[in-house]
Symmetry: C2
Subunit: 116 residues, 2 copies
């Protein structure tokens, strides 16, 4: 279920250190190594799925839980009132650099529009 | 389940016109009235939920289906290869202006980083 060369699979296997902020049976959350906001964390599934294109209706539950994990974390760090942005990139053209699905949680500063 | 004054509930009730791109029992997709990219569409649940803060683990399935609907639409308009970005704002500080959960699908142009 994990990929030998994927950097996020290496984080899941604890072969690469990360600042973990959330863990459950299916998901992991950790701080982005190149933060773009005071709070910038990534939430990933514990299985290697390259892009959101690979998620079908049967995978919707896992995807939903990924978002709820980020929401719970946003509340835990006190962002629920001031606000936060959740971003999921699909493909290089959208800025996806690691091909293991990851949801960005950004907050702690004003977030402008458009989102990139 | 709908709100009298919410503009997206009015779209759901077809009291306000919109360019609908996706419809199923639980969800509606339509073009953003202020597009920020060649493809800029919004996906909303057919029930009035103000922010993603109001979604708990029981609501994860609906949230997941919202994302899968946007993915299916991205594929249908030919964005799956070139890429696209999915964005969900929570709260005014993150740029949420309509308080009915809506997922942005953006694509058709390069998307810069950070996402706002």
């Amino acid at each position: 279920m994990l990929d030998k060369d994927c950097i996020f699979c290496k984080i899941l296997r604890k072969e690469i250190p990360s600042e973990i902020v959330f863990e459950d049976e299916d998901l992991l959350g950790f701080k982005d190594a190149n933060p773009q906001a005071p709070v910038h964390e990534l939430f990933i599934p514990r299985i290697h799925i390259e892009t959101i294109n690979d998620v079908d209706r049967e995978g919707a539950g896992l995807l939903g839980r990924l978002f709820v994990a980020a929401v719970e974390r946003a509340k835990a760090v006190g962002l629920s009132e001031e606000g936060y942005r959740l971003v999921l990139n699909c493909g290089r053209g959208a800025g996806q650099t690691v091909f293991h699905i990851h949801l960005h949680l950004l907050g702690g500063r004003p977030l402008s529009w458009p989102p990139g």
